[in-house]
Amino acid sequence: MTDYRLYLLTWLALLALLACAVAATHWLAGWLAWTTVALCALAMASLVIILFMGLRHANALLRVFGVGGVLWLGFLVVLTLADYLTR
């Protein structure tokens, strides 16, 4: 099956992203480093979820609930921060 190949490529991409994130902490500073780390983390998490966990084959229902969980975590973080940042 072609999926084996796809999984291997995904794995290589994940390792590359990891290297990229670690490198960013060495050579970048401040917001640039933060953004790179966040983007790499987001990309790694998405790759695992979409490919290893098969979200790409999943129906709309699973996607809605997958996104929903993240969205709810977003509510929690954003509204809590809204308090701390305006004190």
Binding site: L18, F52, L62, G69
Partner: protein, 220 residues
């Protein structure tokens, strides 16, 4: 015996379902929902960490510098690899390849066990350097803002501890699945179990990516 139908869509249907498709879809959906709850379980601690990362920016960045980035990255690479072996196991079992599935499951378990070992070594290392403010152990921090650094290490041990616990649960689960695969009594059912536990394992991976990025990588 090559078939076009994946193994997990064969076999007996549980009495509450009308057909196997309904059963497989329900199980998948249930597992995804459960994983959303896992995300929010970690999410409470994540939210707390993010708040303090914002208010005590400097102190937290400096404290992160006291973690072992080398070992942390190595562990992340190991876990990502175990994600690959687990995904391959799911593919293989659906093609009714018992031996290869078993090999991949054992590889996943081995990688996970090495992860736990390295994590334990890191903890021991921090214990030796008096950076483990647990159970009243002495906390001697060489840099500025020792109190806020202690708060950082409190988060560090909470998050890595919680994640480690999930790893242990996953390892237990995979061991059971490996034994079931070795016996190969009810292959369609095993295929479904491999799929469901694969979801769990991959998600513990995802959580580690977030934990690792928050704790180890935000050091500037």
């Amino acid at each position: 015996m090559p078939t076009t139908q994946p193994l997990n869509e064969a076999g007996q249907v549980a009495e509450q379902f009308n057909d196997i498709d309904q059963q497989v879809q329900s199980n998948l959906f249930g597992m995804w929902l459960f994983l959303s709850t896992e995300l929010l379980l970690f999410g409470g601690v994540f939210a707390g960490f993010i708040v303090f990362r914002v208010i005590h920016g400097e102190a937290f960045a400096a404290a992160a510098g006291h973690l072992d980035l080398m070992l942390g990255s190595l562990n992340t690479a190991l876990l990502l690899t175990s994600g690959l072996t687990m995904a391959l196991a799911e593919q293989l079992v659906n093609n009714t390849r018992r031996r290869a599935t078993l090999v991949m499951l054992l590889a996943t378990i081995a990688l996970g066990a090495i992860f736990i070992g390295i994590k334990g070594y890191e903890w021991y290392h921090e214990y030796e350097h008096h950076l483990m403010p647990v159970l009243g152990l002495p906390f001697e921090y060489p840099g500025e803002h020792p109190q806020q650094a202690e708060l950082f290490f409190n988060f560090y041990f909470t998050l890595t501890g919680l994640h480690g616990f999930h790893m242990l649960v996953g390892l237990g689960l995979l061991s059971v699945i490996a034994i079931l695969t070795w016996r190969w009594r009810d292959p369609p059912r095993i295929a479904r179990q491999v799929q469901i536990s694969g979801l769990y394992w991959a998600f513990v991976d995802v959580l580690w990516i977030v934990v690792f990025s928050l704790l180890y990588l935000l050091r500037s």
